[in-house]
């Protein structure tokens, strides 16, 4: 019954004609949501049940499908130009803020970059001090194994507890009523080069978390913790034996080259899978109908591909697993034998799209390797894979085998420099999450336009130190702009409009039913664009580059708010947040030269901005 209603709700929402029918959509969604509430009452706290959940932002992606779409339409194209700051909060941490605040009922929860403090705000008192704060006090030494600034991509909320990861590898649960710690579980070991930065997802009472550290030769995994007790329920590794990777009789990958025994060992040189990477630092999605969680695995350990011949399973791919026990159902590898640090962890947005005369349950994924994929959610078949940025390192995705076809002349070589490889290591799009608008049916992708020179060098695995093996330096791709924000029509497989950005568009995107899309740039401007045309309708200078995930919610006063973190950093902004020296083009693994002007255009910061109409 639950399943049928969910499916019905989604069908109603997603098959609404692609014109502005915001009210119909909103009503339909509201109706479905109320039904869902009635059926799944145990999944919401008492406080939230009394409010319309469309006004909340209960998980970093808004919903299990990771659409980052707000049904609120009070702020719309007609009035967004009047948007003003309602209140702000300074975290006091001058590092990259990649997180998203959560809104549950009348409360806002957020987690800062290292030292990962958690705060709760009562939204009935906007601009007032936090209701509580909690300091997990992670080990300062963890900063030495965080590849890409000491970011945190947000918490998760479920049944009165806030769940988040600390940089030094612990998952913490805090009671949201009191701000006291409920439990903490250590899962990752910094002396092995592991850390944790990702936003957990709570599915069926299990807190799903994954590790970071692909640049340190760690072994990647996704783990499930009991939300009430913090006890480890299962852990699915990304390399190693089938038993370690929770691959068993239920595993049915779509493509032939993903089938075989213990491929997590045999597609590597002997023992190399132990430093195989495949970490899980991106976002997890969940389809309650199919009962599948979807997440990507990161780059294989050691960037230098000549040191690890073989397909290097199960890195740079996407797993579909059952949340109950983590057993794998299917897998698809975006980049077999990844050559360029093209992590496969970019978010998978679950949508139903009209394709080939029927509605197809797919997931949309804009990968580092430059292709926008639509995969069948049930089987992992590639429905389409079209380049959404400049790509010269591959010649497309083979329709029969599903494999990426690499360009031989752009393969990194030991002791040689290969020039002008596109996309660069940060990819055509890195972690910065896109949004989907069911109004337009388009994806809104903040992304990069970068190419690189790459040289293979020796690499030694020394536990706790980086394991890279290449020298890289990036430069702007064709056009000279280093980033862009693109509206992508997934059915047609092409961009509808693109806004060029001086710097990589490193923030997340937000789409709203008011016909707007929001994102921020690395110079500090937070912007609202018309979702249909891409015309800039409003912008605000926040004082430091915006790399956070924007959200929208309805406050207790009934007004719609838009909130985002400002605070430059992350991998792309480390030149500023880390005070790096830009005379070295390889600073921060390649950003030194390409971002040398960022220092003059923005400065460090750490502030939450909340905007509303006057």
């Amino acid at each position: 019954m639950h399943v049928a209603v969910t499916h019905g709700c989604r069908r109603e929402v997603n098959s609404a004609p692609l014109q502005s029918r915001s009210r119909t959509v909103q009503r339909g969604t509201a109706g479905c949501a109320l039904l869902l509430l009635a059926l799944a009452g145990c999944q919401r706290s008492a406080a939230a049940a009394s409010t319309d959940p469309t006004g909340e932002w209960p998980m970093v992606g808004k919903d299990y499908q990771n659409r980052r779409f707000s049904e609120l339409d009070q702020i719309a194209t007609a009035n967004v130009s009047k948007l003003k700051v309602a209140w702000t909060f300074s975290t006091g941490i001058p590092k990259g803020h990649e997180g998203a605040p959560l809104i549950v009922g009348d409360m806002m929860y957020l987690v800062t970059p290292f030292p990962n403090r958690a705060y709760a705000f009562d939204l009935r008192n906007p601009g007032g001090p936090p209701k509580w704060s909690y300091e997990p006090q992670p080990s300062a030494a963890a900063q030495g194994v965080a590849c890409c600034d000491v970011v945190n991509r947000g918490p998760a909320f479920w049944q009165g507890k806030l769940y988040f990861n600390t940089l030094d590898g612990q998952t913490v649960a805090v009671d949201t009523a009191t701000g006291k710690e409920a439990w903490r579980t250590r899962l990752a070991e910094i002396n092995q080069g592991e850390s944790m930065t990702m936003a957990p997802l709570v599915v069926k009472g299990k807190v799903l978390v994954g590790n970071s550290g692909g640049e340190f030769g760690v072994r990647g995994w996704l783990a499930a913790l009991n939300a009430a007790s913090g006890k480890l329920l299962w852990r699915a590794y990304s390399t190693g034996s089938d038993a370690d990777c929770l691959i068993g009789p239920d595993f049915h990958p779509f493509y032939a080259h993903d089938r075989g025994r213990d491929l997590g060992i045999h597609t590597w040189p002997p023992d190399h899978w132990r430093q195989g990477g495949g970490t899980v630092w991106g976002f997890v999605s969940y389809d309650p109908t199919l009962d599948l969680i979807y997440y990507g695995t990161a780059n294989p350990g050691v960037w230098n591909p000549e040191m690890r011949p073989g397909d290097n399973k199960w890195t740079a791919g996407i797993f579909a697993r059952r949340p109950e026990d983590g057993r794998a159902v299917w897998f698809y590898q975006w980049s077999a034998h990844d050559l360029y640090d093209h992590d496969g962890i970019n978010e998978n947005v679950l949508v139903d799209l009209p394709m080939g005369g029927r509605t197809r349950a797919v997931l949309g994924h804009a990968d580092r390797n430059g292709y926008f994929y639509l995969l069948d959610r049930a089987t992992g078949e590639v429905v389409s894979a079209k380049p959404f940025a400049t790509v010269n390192s591959s010649h497309g995705v083979d329709g029969k085998t599903g494999r990426l076809i690499p360009a031989e002349e752009k393969k990194p070589r030991q002791g040689r420099v290969v020039r002008n490889v596109c996309p660069a290591a940060p990819g055509a799009k890195d972690w910065q999450p896109m949004a989907f608008s069911p109004q337009t049916g388009w994806f809104y992708i903040p992304h990069n336009n970068l190419c690189e020179d790459i040289e293979g060098v020796d690499a030694s695995y020394i536990a706790g130190t980086p394991y890279i093996g290449v020298n890289v330096r990036y430069h702007a791709g064709p056009g000279g702009n280093r980033g862009a924000f693109t509206a992508w029509d997934p059915v047609a497989g092409k961009a509808v409009w693109t806004v060029s950005e001086t710097f990589p568009a490193w923030s997340g995107a937000l789409a709203t039913a008011g016909g707007l899309v929001f994102y921020g740039d690395m110079e500090g401007w937070f912007k609202a664009l018309d979702a249909r045309t891409g015309v800039l309708l409003w912008k605000f200078q926040t004082g430091s580059g915006v790399i956070g995930q924007p959200i929208s919610y309805r406050g207790p006063d009934g007004k719609q708010y838009v909130a985002v973190f400002s605070g430059v950093g992350g991998w792309a902004g480390s030149v500023v947040s880390g005070d790096l020296d830009t005379r070295d083009a390889t600073a921060s693994n390649g950003w030194g030269d390409v971002m040398k002007d960022l220092k003059g255009r923005t400065s460090k910061g750490g502030t939450l901005y909340v905007f509303a109409l006057p």
Partner: protein
């Protein structure tokens, strides 16, 4: 007729003599693996005078081309470049600029490598012989010009991502030696 020959011979001899010191190689250093502290404390104020056998090597290395070149080789081999890039920094701070969080004197850099530092610099105590740490110290200081341009390595076989160490002009350290971190 004999005078110019003698003069030339003298000049040649003196040139040879001064060059040898900077290329001298101590291939059988007797220092053991870097122990706790290695005789160097974290402060540059030493009650009773500067201690330790390592202090002499640290000083001598500042003008030794072989030591700096070895330091450059070890800097990549031991993954220092993984965090510090080729001086620009990344996970770790930039080493080619004028800002020194924990001090720029050879003893400070030695302590940083051997003991580690609170905000993420790992400790290499017991993992590197003292003489190699001393070579790394010389190279690290050469990246910002604090150790001699005449003896700093200049040959870069990688893709020339930064000016050679022997062309760097000296950056006066911003924080005084031994000043406590902020």
């Amino acid at each position: 007729m004999k005078m110019p020959v003698a003069a030339v011979a003298l000049l040649a001899a003196s040139a040879l003599g001064s060059g040898c010191k900077h290329e001298s190689r101590d291939l059988r250093p007797t220092e053991a693996v870097s122990k706790a502290g290695g005789g160097v404390v974290l402060s540059t104020l030493f009650a009773g005078g500067v201690p330790g056998a390592i202090a002499g090597t640290l000083q001598a290395n500042q003008e030794n081309a072989y030591a700096m070149n070895e330091g450059k080789r070890l800097f990549d081999a031991y993954n220092c470049s993984g965090c510090h890039a080729h001086g620009g920094g990344g996970i770790g701070p930039a080493l080619m600029d004028a800002k020194w969080i924990y001090g720029s004197a050879p003893q400070n850099v030695y302590a940083t490598i051997v003991e580690g530092r609170p905000n993420g610099m790992p400790s290499f105590r017991g993992k590197l012989p003292d003489f190699q740490v001393a070579q790394l110290v010389a190279y690290v200081r050469s990246m910002s010009g604090l150790a001699g341009g005449l003896w700093a390595p200049g040959r870069n076989d990688s893709m020339q991502v930064k000016p050679g160490e022997n062309t760097v002009t000296m950056q006066s350290p911003v924080r005084a030696e031994g000043a406590p971190p902020p």
